[in-house]
């Protein structure tokens, strides 16, 4: 299918450390398959230490030891095998084809350089236009994220958190990349600003027609902008479905719990907490990694890893208790 922009297959990435001869292996990403299509926002949800960030690092080919790719491929429409790209090939791909929006906007923007200079640093060589034309492009693009073009003369600390996050979104999208990875883009923002920034992000994504991988633990954010969603638990994908369907009819017990425990205004029915804690990825449980906390666990779940199976169009679940 030519419509697929990113295809991840059988990806395994482990942190391998060796201290005093003792080998330790943390299986942060352990066998993940999924695809992201053109012009869609794919939401990836999971708790802390479920392997979300490791997955992004791998997809963006930004991993370094002790993280190692053990198996699998990451294929982009513009880079057939990004895991084997050489550094100079990666440098050409980044920002032009593949951009990242990260959580802490302060750590992306150089504190001693004006916003204008940050744009030059990131994007000038990729756009290949004269400086005057470049400045015009920057001004037009800032207007698109609803910022006054005058802020190019400001330093990052002179802007509010919401404005800075808009600047990083503008930076990530000015080269019209085919693929944008957004890692917790609104977690550091206030509630009122968060919604504005999300709406704006979606608008820009639609306008430039790129695909986006949106990673956050906040299901409300996914509900607001994602087209399709994947739920990660302990390094594996457990369920994937169109967003509306996932919230309406979750099939995996973990997803069902997450959706049921969402507090909603005006609904005070008691929510049952999930017993136990997320597993330690250095010594994950055998079989399905959710089985120690699962209300539906069977003998089979303790020994076999449930494969992802299709239960409805575009809806995949990894659970033995779910009938197809």
């Amino acid at each position: 299918m030519s419509d697929v922009v990113l295809s991840v297959q059988g990806l395994k990435a482990y942190y391998m450390t060796r201290h005093f001869g003792v080998q330790r292996e943390v299986r942060a990403v352990d066998g993940i398959d999924f695809e992201v299509r053109r012009n869609e926002i794919y939401g990836l949800a999971g708790e802390s230490s479920s392997g979300k960030t490791t997955l992004i690092k791998t997809i963006a080919a930004a991993w370094k030891p002790p993280l190692q790719i053990v198996a699998g491929t990451v294929r982009f429409s513009f880079a057939p095998d990004i895991l084997r790209c050489k550094p100079d090939e990666l440098a050409r791909l980044r920002w032009k084809h593949l951009a990242i929006i990260v959580q802490g906007s302060m750590s992306v923007l150089n504190p001693v350089r004006r916003i204008r200079e940050s744009f030059v640093d990131f994007a000038f060589r990729h756009l290949g236009v004269a400086r005057a034309a470049f400045d015009q492009r920057v001004a037009a693009h800032l207007a698109r994220v609803r910022l006054d073009p005058g802020i190019v003369d400001a330093y990052p600390h002179e802007l509010s958190g919401g404005m800075r996050q808009r600047v990083t979104i503008a930076l990530a999208t000015i080269c019209r990349p085919e693929f944008v990875i957004a890692d917790e883009p609104t977690t550091a923002l206030d509630v009122l600003v968060q919604k504005d920034v999300l709406d704006m992000m979606r608008e820009v994504q639609r306008e430039i027609g790129s695909s986006m991988l949106l990673v956050t633990h906040d299901l409300g954010v996914h509900a607001h902008v994602a087209d399709r969603m994947g739920i990660m638990y302990a390094g594996r994908l457990v369920e994937e479905a169109p967003t509306a369907e996932l919230f309406r009819a979750p099939r995996h017990p973990y997803t069902a719990h997450l959706v049921a425990s969402l507090p909603r205004i005006g609904d005070r029915t008691a929510r049952k907490p999930l017993e136990g804690t997320p597993p330690n990825l250095a010594a994950p449980p055998a079989g399905c990694r959710f089985h120690p906390r699962c209300p539906l666990a069977m003998d089979r779940c303790r020994t076999e890893v449930p494969p992802m199976q299709v239960v409805a169009p575009q809806h995949r679940v990894a659970c033995f208790a779910v009938r197809t």
Partner: protein, 279 residues
């Protein structure tokens, strides 16, 4: 003194000044704020607002960490600013306990967790010896669904955020407080564990008769647990009252925009449709 309210916040303000002699700037973090928590009627009282609305400054004043610039804050009839000296301070702290946002920062990473529980037991409850402190720590941990056997000798990094936050609640319970001030207690906790903490607050209110001041920016959990609430904007209360009534139909424009910003799957049918329509 039985008729005195548990906590009476009477026209309290806090002003911070910034800058030197020439460019002095005065920031009213909390501006003329009043509310009252009755004794003998435990409740969960929520303070809602964005960052910069003054909610943490208010929490610090209740905990006697900051002094109000104006107004009176009294706890069971005594003016909090009149608390001087070690014994009066300890007596106050035993009754008003804090729970902080980030459990990973609230505990010293170099010390085992039980150390804190024992220190709290010795300092506030006057536990005469190790055995008594141990008993107090164990019973407090049992109340939050943990036990001393699980926690003993373990360090903060060995526990998950949810477990750690429950240890923080257990620590706050040891002195048998009347009031707990919880500043964003679940914003750093994972979704599958968040409800365990929130439900725990309900248990504290219903079974232990503890009044809880729950500070948050999350309207959804506030609606789930609180009895009364106030909504703050730039240091001032813009709306106050019964939690259900206020959140079902907020009157002030700021409260409305806060409710409008809550991202929920149900309210978002249009955004949740597949993006097949190219524009």
């Amino acid at each position: 003194m039985n008729s005195a309210p548990l906590l009476d916040v009477d026209r309290v303000s806090k002003v911070f000044t910034r800058g030197g002699l020439l460019s002095r700037e005065r920031i009213r973090a909390v501006d003329d704020l009043s509310f009252r928590l009755e004794a003998g009627r435990p409740e969960i009282f929520s303070i809602i607002g964005e960052s910069g609305s003054g909610k943490s400054t208010l929490a610090k004043m209740i905990l006697h960490i900051e002094k109000p610039s104006d107004g009176r804050l009294s706890f069971r009839g005594t003016d909090v600013s009149h608390i001087h000296g070690r014994s009066a301070r300890l007596a106050f702290m035993a009754q008003v306990q804090p729970i902080f946002q980030n459990p990973f920062e609230a505990f010293n990473p170099l010390k085992p967790l039980d150390h804190y529980l024992f220190m709290t037991a010795r300092r506030f409850n006057g536990a005469p010896d190790e055995a008594a402190a141990l008993r107090m720590a164990d019973s407090a941990l049992l109340q939050v669904g943990l036990s001393l056997a699980e926690v003993r000798g373990r360090y903060p990094h060995e526990l998950s955020g949810g477990q750690l936050q429950r240890v923080a609640v257990a620590r706050a319970l040891i002195p048998r407080p009347k009031l707990i001030v919880a500043d964003e207690p679940v914003s750093m906790v994972d979704a599958s564990l968040r409800m365990a903490i929130v439900n725990l607050f309900k248990t504290l209110r219903d079974d232990f008769g503890i009044t809880i001041v729950y500070i948050t920016h999350d309207l959804a959990t506030a609606d789930y647990i609180s009895d009364r609430l106030i909504i703050m904007q730039r240091g001032r209360v813009v709306e106050a009252g019964d939690a259900r009534t206020v959140l079902a139909d907020p009157q002030h424009p700021y409260s409305r925009s806060l409710k409008g910003a809550v991202l929920l799957p149900d309210a978002l049918a249009p955004a949740a449709t597949p993006a097949a329509t190219p524009t």
